[in-house]
């Protein structure tokens, strides 16, 4: 069979940047329902805000000059923590084999998949971080307005520079936990045994409280979560994210898809 030149499908050169954005767009469509779940988590956080008990909170504390992640009482902060957990799960799923196979059904490479995942995670984290933080402020204001107690009053009186710092810290926390989630997803897919060892060590630490691990975790906690300067905190988070990003690229470099 012979064909004329204009009939023949010629090879086209793809722009990596263009494919990365197409992949990000695709992930955005695929995970629309997951974002609904995150919104639900925010709403659930609002419900929790009315209760009493303990929960995690993030933000900038002017008094202690710390960017905090601490176990504290229920307040508007649970609106932030639950979406972070949701995004952590979503990011974890991005590293799973099934998701990779789905993305590899259309045009991609291992590296492009990682780049697009990281961009998608960062964009999602920014949106979730900002919306959650602002929502938590609104809830705090409402609590301050209608259910004022001494504890809620202090938290709700945030404004100006502190608000920006708190917002920034919330976004950074969301990015950090999401990228950790994605890293763990990739680790789980590539080295299930290593993942199992990490989980076992962590469970062992929780049960036995071995001083070596305790010290390590306390140091890590102090290094990241008790940083006084917002600049240094940003640098630390960016550094950790970059490091994890490099690890992920190394993990997937020789991974086969289907």
């Amino acid at each position: 069979m012979s064909f004329t030149n204009n009939q023949i499908a010629s090879i086209k050169q793809a722009q990596a940047k263009q494919i990365i954005w197409k992949q990000v767009k695709l992930k955005w469509h695929v995970y629309q329902s997951a974002f609904l779940f995150i919104i639900l988590a925010q709403l659930f956080g609002i419900i929790l805000s009315y209760g009493q008990g303990s929960s995690m909170s993030v933000g900038y504390d002017e008094e202690s000059n710390f960017i905090e992640l601490a176990m504290t009482y229920f307040n508007g902060q649970s609106i932030i923590v639950l979406p972070i957990v949701g995004l952590f799960g979503l990011a974890f799923s991005l590293g799973l084999k099934q998701t990779k196979q789905m993305m590899a059904t259309v045009v991609t490479t291992q590296a492009i998949n990682v780049y697009s995942n990281v961009i998608f995670i960062i964009i999602s984290s920014v949106l979730v971080g900002i919306s959650s933080y602002l929502l938590s402020l609104i809830v705090k204001s409402i609590i301050f307005q209608y259910f004022t107690t001494s504890t809620t009053m202090v938290i709700a009186q945030v404004g100006g520079v502190d608000l920006i710092k708190g917002l920034f810290a919330a976004v950074l926390y969301t990015v950090l936990f999401s990228v950790i989630g994605y890293f763990l997803g990739e680790l789980f897919t590539a080295y299930k045994w290593l993942f199992a060892i990490i989980i076992l060590l962590f469970a062992g630490y929780l049960m036995t409280g071995l001083s070596f691990f305790e010290k390590m975790i306390i140091n890590l906690h102090q290094f990241i979560f008790q940083e006084g300067s917002i600049g240094l905190f940003t640098a630390k988070v960016v550094g950790i994210v970059l490091l994890l990003f490099i690890f992920i690229l190394v993990i997937v470099r020789r991974q086969e898809v289907r």
């Binding site: 990596a16 197409k22 789905m102 059904t105 490479t109």
Partner: protein, 295 residues
């Protein structure tokens, strides 16, 4: 122009070798059949060409690039099999949109015409389709993408024979209108024989033959008749397969070099259809299914 080149390609898994020293090349704008029994190494070879898997050793180039992790290769090829995974939340219309976004030659109108003809429900997701409908969807995506390299790995799994015939007709018509390099693996060699220009035959991971379909049609002769006579006339020939029929009859498949002639009435000689030849060359050399019952 050579689109695919494989030189001494090996692929090992932990417990077995899927491909062993496979070497061949595929020219631009041809339809090549990849034929072999289950476990012959067809899918592994096709996935290496698609860039999903890495060869353990040897060299594969597609469009003069190593396909593994190559964006150029990924952009210019589509791999169609029954394990194509589309997002669970996407209905067929979303899937067509997604493919159009990624494949530069994707013909949306053609895809919709095929969906309409095969009566696929546009509002359903991939997971709500029957096995045959899923295969139809994959086939439509593969065809409408019009990639310079289109790889179909057992694309008609679960389809009924009428649908299969329609698809192969659509494939041929679209190929004539929009030529590209197509690799097509199938167990139903009779159904695709008329489409193929070249055939790669794999057996136990090795490449047995790479011939044009015309050469394969004239490749072998079947000599049948009285066992002793058949043995005698084929003694000096290159024998591909031998099978005893009853007590005194023998079928011998010999390589056709154009010189075999016999005038004995007790012996019949006929050319071998391609599908029969393929079944003989990939048959187990020792014994048959009957032997299982005598162990």
């Amino acid at each position: 122009m050579t689109v695919i080149s494989c030189i001494d390609v090996n692929k090992n898994y932990r417990h077995h070798r899927a491909n062993e020293d496979v070497s061949f090349s595929v020219k631009e704008n041809t339809i090549t059949g990849v034929i072999g029994r289950n476990g012959a190494g067809k899918t592994t070879l096709l996935k290496m060409i698609a860039g999903y898997l890495r060869p353990t050793s040897g060299d594969i180039t597609v469009f003069q690039k190593h396909p593994y992790n190559s964006l150029t290769v990924s952009y210019n090829r589509i791999f169609v099999d029954d394990q194509m995974v589309f997002p669970a939340s996407f209905n067929l219309a979303n899937i067509i949109d997604m493919c159009q976004d990624f494949y530069p030659n994707f013909d949306r109108k053609f895809a919709y015409n095929l969906i309409d003809y095969f009566e696929l429900p546009l509002k359903r997701t991939q997971y709500e389709l029957s096995k045959g409908q899923k295969s139809s969807l994959h086939f439509i995506v593969g065809l409408a993408a019009r990639c310079p390299l289109t790889i179909f790995d057992e694309p008609t799994t679960g389809m009924d024979s009428t649908v299969r015939k329609d698809f192969y007709r659509a494939l041929l018509k679209d190929y004539i209108a929009h030529p590209r390099t197509i690799l097509l693996s199938s167990h139903q060699i009779q159904e695709i024989e008329h489409l193929l220009e070249d055939v790669l035959i794999l057996d136990h991971g090795k490449l047995l033959m790479h011939e044009s379909i015309d050469d394969l049609r004239a490749y072998a002769l079947k000599v049948s008749g009285d066992a002793q006579l058949v043995k005698k006339v084929t003694a000096e020939r290159d024998i591909i397969y031998e099978e005893r029929i009853g007590n005194n009859e023998l079928n011998v498949i010999i390589k056709n070099d154009g010189s075999f002639q016999t005038y004995d009435d007790r012996i019949s000689t006929e050319g071998l259809p391609v599908h029969e030849l393929l079944s003989y060359v990939t048959k187990k050399r020792k014994g048959g299914i009957d032997d299982v019952f005598h162990k």
